[in-house]
Each structure stands twice: as structure tokens, then as C-alpha cells.
Amino acid sequence: MKNKSKKSGWKQFKRNIPLHLMLLPAVILVLVFAYIPMYGLVIAFQNFNAAKGIFGGQKWIGLGNFTYIFTLPSIWRVFGNTLIIAVLKIIFGTLAAITTALLLNECSSKGVKKSVQTMIYFPHFISWIILAGVFTDILSPTDGVVNSFLGLFGVKPIYFLGDNKYFRGTLVVTDIWKSFGYNSIVYLATITGIDPSLYEAASIDGAGRWKQVWHITLPGMSTIIILLTILSMGNILNAGFDQVFNLYSAAVYDTGDIIDTLVYRLGLQGAKFGPSTAVGLLKSIISLVLISSAYLIAWKKFDYTVF
């Protein structure tokens, strides 16, 4: 029995050699750009002096860089901000994408549906560098559109990008605006895959649009909703460097400074390669644990596997 499966495996491999060869460039790229650079992780344990070179006689300091990180005055604030911003983005981002998918699904006019889809899909492709300029103008307390509008109702100008009370909310809302169209695609595809006969049966039984959504569409989407939410756990320490870096300032460090921006300031501006590699490694380990746990849950509870 064993021999047979071994043989069939080898046969299958031989039969698929052309496919494996096609895969080879990608494997090489991953090795060269993802696995080999992992050697650089040794910097996390060194008092790294760039002038000695990565293979030079660097001084080993054990966990010194990790100790250094945890004695930084801002480290806990930064971890807290990262978690809060990432979780808010995951929760509200998912809700926005699901709602959009449901609304698009209910839209009867194909033309309107396609137009809306294209419009909400578009911001995904604009870089945060450009968007930061746009949002800075739109949200300006002096002559921004948003504050001008609020002013009509007697609301005093709010500095969304410079006030700690509003900064996180601004990050979440602008991030959702940029990505909800793109994120809704998977949900829309799931809805399309739901058996239409279920709707017909419900309709015959007298269920209205809302009841159909509640009892057929949402349960039909539940697996993918839970699955995507769990898989997003791997991103729990990624609160969006591009966005935060381009929108934040010292005035909102309390609520907006995240791990990645701290690493940037440490590593690239401060040339502290040891501590910044240590932060990166720590982040990778936490993400690996979270994504592995999430994968395990997805596998056991929802029978979802990658392979």
C-alpha cells in the first residue's frame, strides 16, 4: 500500500515536471529575496557596526537589542497604538466590505453596479503619498471641505490630523475609504456562489429581501467572513506604515505612533540596525504565532486548508 502511494507520487511528480519547472523561478525568487536575507536576522543579536560589514567581526550582545527596545520610553505606547489601530481597521474594514458586498448584490441595475464597483475599487490603487496630500487638504481646519461642511452646522473646526482625539478615527476611516471596494470583491464572489434555488424557495415561502439577506446570504457568507477575519490576525501588528508615516506628526505620537514608524525612525534615521532588526524579528515571531494559530483554527473548525 505504502509502495503504491510512493510510486504514484513519483509518477505524479514526473508527469508534472513541466509544471514544477514553471514554478522554479518563483521558488528561486522566494529563496533569494525571502529566505537568504533571513541571515540578516543575526543583526538583532549584534551591536552592529555597518563599517565592519555584515560578515565582519561584529560584537555579539545576546538579547541586548531586545532589552534596549523595551527600555525605550515610547515602546508600550507604540505597541498599544499598533494593536488598537490594527484591530479597529480589521473590525470596521470587514464590516464595511461586507455591507458593500450586500448592497452591490441587491443592486438590480447592472450598469449602476459596475460603475459603483469601479469607483470604489479605484482608491485601492492610489499611493498613500498622494492620498496623504489629498486628505491633508480635505481635512484642513482652515479651509478643508470637511470642516467647511461641519461649520454649516456650527461645529468648530476640528484638526483631524493633529488632534489625538480624532487621529485614530481618521486613520481608520481613511483606510476603509481606500480599501473597502477592493476588499468587498471576495465577499461579492462568495454571494455569487450561493445556490439561487435557496432564494427562490425563500421567496415562495414569503421571505422579503431583508429576510433573504438575513437567513440566506449572511449564513452563506459566514464561513468566509470568519475565515478572512481569522487570517487577518497575521496582520495584527501591521497597522499600515505607509498611511501613518504620511499622515502623522509629533503632535499625535500619543495615539498614532506605531511599531513600523518607530522602526523607521530607529533604523533608517537613527542608523540603529540592531534594535530595528530586533523589533522586526519580534514582530515576525508574533505574526507567525498568530497566523499559525489562526490557520490551525481555520483548519480544525472550518476545514479550510491551503494545500
Binding site: K52, A251, L288
Partner: protein, 593 residues
């Protein structure tokens, strides 16, 4: 099968990470041994020619305290090689800039410009540009990469003192104490030591002079107050001389038109508008590295002293009264200038003298000497208004814009210093050719097209003095017969419409009118000019962030001035500021005893 593959993949991922950290630990001892062996080998091979960090401490102190005692090359002298030699350089040039492109199109590419030709013809040195990068952050990244690859040019620019330490400790750069004293000529020595020999301290690591300061005029540390004279006339007010008057002017300017603001402000206010703090006795400089001598003889960091509070209070009131726009607290300086000054929404700002170039770039023309047209913006620079002090004290560094380090593998290290000898002779020597080498029609900064440079402390004051003496201040008439270089060149720039030269160095209403009144008698020199300690390197970034965070909250009124300031100082000291202060005081005492 699928599950098995999934488990295997996960295992590989986990193991590879574990292996990384595991191999790190297991090879740690091997790495150290290897490093020690390499270092011992290098030392044996070099035979003391390339000393690692830790040279003759007393020699370095002597250089710091007394400068060069005997010159082997007199003024006007520099070495000419019998055979051609080549030197390579990494620096912060933008080789593709519009200016260099224009020069290229005119038949004088920077790679073979007048400076390169001069060094070739008069010294037999062929200078070759290696990689160059004008953006300082990008430059530092490239430099770090080149450092780790061992691919540095013969001489390279360094802007971060911590890098000098790293390079010295790795034996990647040459010690210069002797090399400098053996090769520097009198003109170069005079320029380097023009504002005191303490400048050598900036390049000393563990008792050895490792990095040549790129000497620049210390007048660069001035901050200036710029105002629109035409708006003053419109609102019927005089040039403000006190900070209360500045506030009144700001109010009047804001009310001139819808959308106007009172004062141009940015998140970089601590390094771009220190004049506000100086008006109330604050003594911080633009680089935020000012350490001042206290009554007990120790030195203390300027930004956390109580005399800074007056400036904060003034800014806080300006913000509260709506004279500083809210969004400017997160804007960079150049964005703020472009948003408010260029669009003529603002008639008042603080900044260093080279903001004159910004005004010129925004299209503003000088209205003096009958130039410009009626109704156009008329920017002038005014003496710094006073708050609570009788005399505005200007905290300043014995300025250098970074350092030049010489690669340990450079075959002709002395040629670098010799090139600087030749450079200063061309600009400041008895037989100089300032008119052609400081600036030219297509490049107003031709002096900076040389592979390496240093400038005299009075390079900006000299033309001002010459122009000033030739000008009738009442009639604004300039008697050209009384002009000579470099005044002639500067006057020609002004006549040619380069308004920046009037804003900065002109004989009336310019930045250097104020500099002339106050330099050097009103300067408070920075007392700490040495390489930062390890604690500084580890902690300073976080400490500045603490300051930034508190300071902006004080300005916006989120924190009470006294309580917030006290809390800021406490946090600063707890997070490492107190340790740095102790270390700096020890070093300072060592070098000044």
C-alpha cells in the same frame, strides 16, 4: 497528503526561524574569535600606520585647545605631484540638478568642471566623482550600505558623528592628527580655526582626530525675522521691535484679507524659528545641540532650561488667538512656506538667511534700488524683535556642515588636505580667483561644485561689508566704482534679478545687516563640540521625540506651560538626559582643564 504538506511547510518555517536564532547563538563565540583574530591580523599588517581608535589623547586635546602650531606649508603653497594621481569622492552633490545640467549643456560638466580642471592642472590630481546623493537621508543610507560593503570612495562626506565613531572603531578611516598638521597650509589653517580651535573636537574619537570638519560660516546659525513692508504700509504700522508689536502686526496682517494667517509656523519650529525663543532669553540653536556653560562651570542642555518658557508662552498665545493656523503644527517648514508665504496669505515668518532663496523661488523680487514693480510683495528682513531681554543673544555653533573622512585604503590621503589647500587659495588666498570660482552665470553655487570644500567664516559677511560701504543707505544708490570682489559678484547677482542675494546679503534691509550688527559679540558659542557618547547615540532620538511631543502640546495649549514644561524636563532626564549630561560634563572637563 495535503495535511502532511501543510504541516511540513509550517515546520520548515518554524525551524528556519529557530535555526536562525540558534545559529546566531552557536556561532556567537566563533564570530567573536574570528573578529578578534581579524583585528589582531589587521593591526599586525598595518604596523601602526592605521591606528585603531584610541590614539594619543594629549595630542588631540592639544589640537583642540591650541590648533596647528607650526605650518609646513605657507599661505599660497600646496603640493603638486610629479605623476598624476587619482582620488575618488562620495558626497552630497545632485549631479543631475538643473544647475549642473545647464553647466553640462554649456560645455562644462561638473565631472570636468573648472574645479576638476584646476586640481588636474595645478596639482596633477584627477578627482573622480563616485556615487553622490543630494538628499541627506538617501545619502546616509547609501553611505551605510557602502560602509558595510567596504566600497567607500577615497574621501567621503559624513553628516552623522555616530558614523565617524563606527568607521573609526572598524578601522575603516585614517587617523588625521599628524596628517593634518603635516599638510595643512596657513590659509586653510586660518579658515579652519577662524572661529576657534574647538572645531577640531567635532572630529575626535577616543583621543584621535578622525574627521575633517567641513567648515562653514557660523553666521549660518542665525535666525531671522522676515516681514512684508508693503503690508506694514497698508495697515499703517511701523517695523516691530518687540514681540508684543509682532503680535499686533500679525493680527493686522491676518485681518487684511480672508484666508490670511498671522505667523507662518511649522512642526520644525524648534529648529527653524529659534529667534522667538531668543527674544525671551532662550538659548537653543537651530541644530538643537546647544550646551551652555552654567554659573557653576558645568554645561547644560539649552532646550530644557527655564529661559525657554517665554518663547513657548508667546507661541501658545499666538496659537490660542488663531494667529498660527492649526494645521501648521504638522506641516514641514517648506510646505508651510509654500502654503502661506508663496500664496501671499502670510506676511511674517522666521527662518535662516537662506530662506531668501525660497522667496526668490516663489517669484518675489526686491523692491529696493528701484527694482520690482508697484503693488508687488516687498519682503524685508528686520532685526530680531525683543521680548523680555535687552540684547538678543544668538546661540551658535562653531559651524561645520558635516565632515570628510579618508578611507583607510586611500593611497594618497595627504592629497585630500592638499586639495583643500588649493581650494582655499583659489577662493580666499592672496591670488584668489573668487569671481570665477565662487559663482558663475549658470551656477550661483560654483564653490560647491568642487569635490570637497570648506568656506571662510566671513564668506557671507565680506560681500555685505563691501556692498555696504559702497551704498548710500538713504538714496539706495550703489557706487560701483567702490566695489571689488566678492562684493562685485554679489551686486551683479542682485542686478541680474537674483533677489535672494538682496534678501540675504544686500546692503539694506537684509539678513546680514543684522548679522553685521551682532556678530560675533552677541554670539553664545556652543560649549560641547565633541563626538556624542554611546548613551547619546542610543537615547537621543527618543529624547528629542519626548521634547517634540511635549513642546507641541504646550504650544497648542493641551498642556499647561509650567506643569507641562516641568514634566517634559523630568521625562527627558529620566529617559537618559541626565546620564548624557553627566557624560558630556566629564568630557568637557577633560578637554578644557
Amino acid at each position: 497528503m495535503k495535511k502532511l504538506l501543510a504541516i511540513l511547510l509550517a515546520a520548515v518555517l518554524v525551524l528556519s526561524l529557530a535555526a536562525c536564532s540558534g545559529s546566531g547563538e552557536s556561532t556567537a563565540d566563533e564570530g567573536t574569535k574570528e573578529a578578534e583574530a581579524q583585528e589582531a591580523e589587521a593591526e599586525a599588517e598595518e604596523g601602526g600606520e592605521t591606528e585603531p581608535a584610541g590614539g594619543n589623547y594629549q595630542t588631540a586635546i592639544d589640537l583642540y585647545q591650541n590648533g596647528v602650531k607650526e605650518y609646513k606649508y605657507k599661505a599660497g603653497e600646496f603640493k603638486k605631484y610629479d605623476e598624476p594621481i587619482t582620488l575618488t569622492v562620495n558626497n552630497t552633490h545632485d549631479l543631475d540638478s538643473d544647475t549642473f545640467e545647464a553647466m553640462r549643456a554649456a560645455g562644462e560638466p561638473v565631472e570636468n568642471g573648472r574645479w576638476i580642471q584646476y586640481f588636474r592642472d595645478d596639482m596633477n590630481i584627477e578627482w573622480v566623482f563616485g556615487w553622490c546623493e543630494s538628499n541627506s537621508a538617501d545619502y546616509n543610507q547609501k553611505l551605510t550600505l557602502s560602509m558595510s560593503e567596504g566600497a567607500l570612495a577615497d574621501v567621503f562626506y559624513v553628516s552623522d558623528q555616530n558614523m565617524i565613531r563606527q568607521l573609526a572603531e572598524a578601522g575603516a578611516i585614517l587617523p588625521l592628527t599628524e596628517l593634518w598638521q603635516d599638510n595643512v597650509n596657513e590659509t586653510l589653517g586660518r579658515i579652519m580655526e577662524e572661529e576657534g580651535t574647538a572645531i577640531y573636537g567635532t572630529g575626535i574619537v577616543d583621543g584621535e582626530f578622525y574627521a575633517l570638519p567641513v567648515k562653514m560660516p557660523s553666521t549660518n546659525t542665525y535666525n531671522h525675522c522676515w516681514i512684508r513692508r508693503d503690508w506694514l504700509e497698508k495697515v499703517g504700522m511701523d517695523v516691530p521691535s518687540t514681540m508684543d508689536e509682532v503680535k499686533e502686526v500679525a493680527k493686522a496682517f491676518k485681518e487684511l484679507a480672508d484666508g490670511n494667517i498671522g505667523l507662518c509656523f511649522s512642526k520644525d519650529f524648534m529648529s527653524e524659528m529659534e529667534g522667538v525663543f531668543w527674544a525671551f532669553g532662550g538659548q537653543q540653536n537651530s541644530r538643537r545641540n546647544q550646551w551652555n556653560k552654567q554659573e557653576d562651570g558645568t554645561i547644560a542642555y539649552a532646550e530644557i532650561q527655564d529661559n525657554m518658557k517665554g518663547g513657548f508662552e508667546w507661541l501658545r498665545d499666538m496659537y490660542a488667538e488663531g494667529l498660527i493656523p492649526q494645521e501648521s503644527i504638522s506641516m514641514g517648514t517648506y510646505d508651510a512656506l509654500a502654503n502661506y508665504v508663496a500664496t501671499e496669505k502670510c506676511g511674517l515668518f522666521y527662518g535662516p538667511h537662506w530662506y531668501g532663496f525660497q522667496l526668490q523661488n516663489f517669484g518675489f523680487k526686491t523692491q529696493n534700488y528701484g527694482m520690482g514693480s508697484e503693488g508687488e510683495a516687498d519682503w524685508i528682513e528686520i532685526p530680531l524683535p525683543k521680548g523680555t531681554v535687552d540684547t538678543v543673544i544668538i546661540p551658535g555653533n562653531n559651524t561645520n556642515d558635516g565632515w570628510y573622512c579618508i578611507n583607510a585604503n586611500c593611497e594618497h590621503p595627504e592629497a585630500v588636505i592638499q586639495t583643500l589647500n588649493a581650494y582655499v587659495e583659489k577662493l580666499f588666498g592672496e591670488n584668489n580667483d573668487f569671481a570665477n570660482f565662487f559663482a558663475c552665470d549658470l551656477n550661483s553655487g560654483e564653490w560647491n561644485a568642487s569635490p570637497i570644500h570648506v568656506l571662510s567664516a566671513t564668506v557671507d559677511l565680506d560681500p555685505y561689508w563691501i556692498l555696504s560701504k559702497a551704498t548710500n543707505k538713504e538714496t539706495q544708490e550703489v557706487d560701483e566704482s567702490k566695489l571689488y570682489e566678492p562684493g562685485t559678484s554679489y551686486w551683479n547677482y542682485i542686478k541680474a534679478g537674483l533677489s535672494a542675494y538682496q534678501y540675504m546679503f544686500g546692503p539694506i534691509d537684509s539678513c546680514f545687516c543684522y548679522v553685521d550688527e551682532t556678530y560675533p559679540q552677541n554670539i553664545l558659542w556652543n560649549e560641547y563640540l565633541f563626538i556624542p557618547t554611546q548613551t547619546y547615540t542610543d537615547r537621543w532620538g527618543s529624547l528629542v521625540e519626548i521634547l517634540d511631543n511635549y513642546e507641541i502640546k504646550i504650544v497648542t495649549g493641551e498642556l499647561d506651560l509650567d506643569e507641562g514644561f516641568a514634566e517634559m524636563v523630568q521625562k527627558f532626564n529620566e529617559a537618559g538626559g541626565a546620564v548624557i549630561s553627566e557624560e558630556y560634563n566629564e568630557i568637557y572637563a577633560d578637554f578644557t582643564k
